[in-house]
């Protein structure tokens, strides 16, 4: 047998390798897709969410609000809670600062503390000012703001909430 000819043994080896590789690819590649599938999905819908009546919001005092969104995750509907604080800065109904209560550090929920005159995060002692600026602690940036809001005719304040971005 010359060097160019494939021996029976080598033929079997090569065939086994190719068939094995094919089976591996046919099962392996879909399996990877199967595994990462949830990460490739877009989030839910956008919506206008009423957070309270404007007349109930005292000027200069953060007004807490919260709402839940129900999302379908796999075979189950999961309710997720979101919240924040609306701060009227003057009589002007459009002069409102709406902050998300989701800490910019690692996503715990911050609470308004009247005595400290700040938003405090229970997880890693983050401290944000009335305007949401970082005063102390590890957060990398100020609290997120819901910049899109509107007043309905009956005087309730609504924010635009996008599930894809998690904040407004």
């Amino acid at each position: 047998m010359s060097d160019h000819e494939l021996s029976r043994r080598d033929f079997i080896k090569v065939t086994t390798g190719i068939v094995g590789g094919l089976i591996g690819a046919v099962i392996g590649l879909p399996a990877i897709y199967y595994l990462i599938d949830p990460a490739l999905r877009e989030g839910g819908k956008d919506a206008w969410i009423p957070i309270g009546k404007l007349e109930n919001m005292e000027i200069g005092k953060p007004y807490p609000f919260s709402f839940t969104r129900v999302m379908v995750n796999g075979w189950e509907r999961t309710a997720s809670s979101f919240g924040g604080y609306a701060l009227r800065k003057s009589e002007d109904p459009n002069d409102i600062l709406i902050l998300s209560s989701r800490c910019t550090h690692l996503a715990c929920t911050v609470n308004w503390n009247e005595e400290a005159d700040a938003y405090l995060c229970p997880c890693h002692d983050a401290k944000f000012s009335r305007e949401g600026e970082v005063l102390d602690g590890p957060p990398p940036r100020a609290l997120d703001r819901y910049t899109e809001f509107r007043l309905t005719e009956d005087g309730s304040l609504e924010i635009f909430f996008s599930e894809n971005k998690k904040t407004g």
Binding site: I27, P30, A31, Y33, Y34, L35, D37, P38, L40, G74, W75, E76
Partner: protein
Amino acid sequence: MWKKIYEWLDERLGLNAMYTNLLDRPEPRGNWWNTLGSASLFLFVLQGLTGIFLTVYYTPSPDHAYDSITYIMEGVAFGWLIRGIHHWGATLMVVVVFIHMLRVFVTASFKYPRELTWLIGIGLFLTTLGMGFTGYLLPWNQRAFWATTVGTQIAGTAPLVGEFILKALRGGPDLSALTLQRFFSGHIWMLPAALAGLIGVHLYLIIRHGESYYPNKED
């Protein structure tokens, strides 16, 4: 470069010796019937891999088992493929293991010095049936529910210990969340662990004794 890395590893792990002993063993003259053991091993690995992937989405609770499987089939990319392979692979594995057993019987390969290989093979066959029995319940549909009701009821007809066996299998007098949970545990941990251990010994014995020659006229 690669050759040097390979040599370094071979010197420590003995890769060449392993290859020669495991995959380059001398074999007696045989035919395709002799490949069924390897086919069984391949199916075991395939069932293991697809099974591991199925646990990513499956949940063994009466409230969600059925919904989670519907989700695997319709919601997840290639879920139908992974579950399809596991579903048909299970049937195929029982068939292949059984034909493998028949081949060993017909060619008298269970005789000295391979009696132990044969006995362990019986254990492997029964464990494979156990895998089929426990896996059948997991979709938690009508067919699964009643098949397990009947299957455990049959086990319950054993004299004296029947009722105890029935309760032990079901985790109580009736089929319940406990039944589903313990069948799941058996299906993904206990039986596969037993299978893997028995397969290890089975393979060791095959390599130790080599494959048997087919009997000739004098035998």
